[in-house]
């Protein structure tokens, strides 16, 4: 069971309190009706699925109940950092800082 740092509770908590919620930084289009079918398909279904650094959403469901974002290494399974929902994608430098 992983320990996950909740950016709202500001502490590491057991994985069982959390739920995974898919890739992060995929904003719902402000006006979906203007999107082409292809663009809408991409929003709905196309995900990056990288080997390595992955930006993803989690929810501290059985804690503070907040959704937040995380950077996780899909090879090692390790969380590199977590941050509040709504904050921009952290830079490589920021991630490196947390990695050490």
């Amino acid at each position: 069971m992983l320990l996950i740092h909740c950016p709202y509770c500001r502490e590491a908590r057991p994985e069982i309190e959390f739920s995974y919620a898919g890739e992060a930084h995929i904003a719902r289009p402000a006006d979906p009706s203007v999107l082409s079918d292809e663009a809408w398909r991409d929003f709905l279904f196309i995900r990056s699925n990288p080997r390595g650094t992955h930006y993803e959403r989690w929810r501290h469901t059985h804690g503070c109940a907040r959704f937040f974002n995380a950077v996780r290494d899909t090879v090692s399974d390790k969380f590199l950092m977590t941050y509040e929902a709504g904050r921009p994608r952290p830079s490589e430098a920021e991630i490196e800082e947390h990695r050490s």
């Binding site: 709202y8 908590r13 309190e17 059985h62 503070c64 907040r66």
Partner: protein, 167 residues
């Protein structure tokens, strides 16, 4: 030593309000709301626990419930907030005594021993979500949704027997 008991009913509310407006809400409730997630304020039979950035759980005597709801509606009507009565949603379970920490820890992956007296949090015991309040070194209060309470209570009993048997 372990004491395990279903607690008497009380009035319970979920209060959701922007942190900027919490002082006003505290005035209406009659108890300054805690500012940090996990912190508890308690006085004169009222209790407030901050569970999330804009979420507080309020406890009061069962007989005060209607009046509290009415006061929020009347005095905080223009401030955006949500007050929802969950008095009947949940049941309180007391777990206290020298074995309390061992019994609770057996079922919970959170390090409860490291959490201070006068704090509370939502977490999971076995498969059951609960709010746990540490009210004294060896005194805990669990708040569990009604239909999950018998399952959790019987697990606490089983673990309690094991701990008391010296395991």
């Amino acid at each position: 030593m372990l004491r395990l008991a279903m607690l008497p009913d009380c009035a319970r509310f979920v209060l959701r309000i922007a942190p900027a407006d919490m002082a006003a809400a505290g005035q209406v409730f009659g108890l300054a709301l805690p500012e940090a997630i996990g912190a508890v304020a308690e006085a004169d039979g009222r209790l407030a626990l901050k569970l999330g950035p804009d979420e507080w759980r309020l406890h009061a005597a069962e007989s005060d419930g209607a009046e509290i709801a009415a006061r929020f509606a009347a005095e905080l009507g223009t401030t955006p907030h949500s007050l929802v009565d969950i008095s009947h949603r949940e049941i309180g379970i007391e777990v206290s005594g020298t074995a309390a920490l061992d019994v609770l820890t057996a079922l919970c992956p959170l390090d409860l021993a490291a959490r201070p007296v006068g704090s509370g949090t939502r977490t999971v015991f076995d498969r059951v979500e609960a709010v746990v309040l540490r009210q004294a070194e060896n005194q805990f209060r669990l708040e569990v949704w009604q239909s999950f309470a018998p399952f959790l209570y019987s697990l606490l009993e089983i673990v309690g027997q094991e701990v008391e048997a010296g395991l």
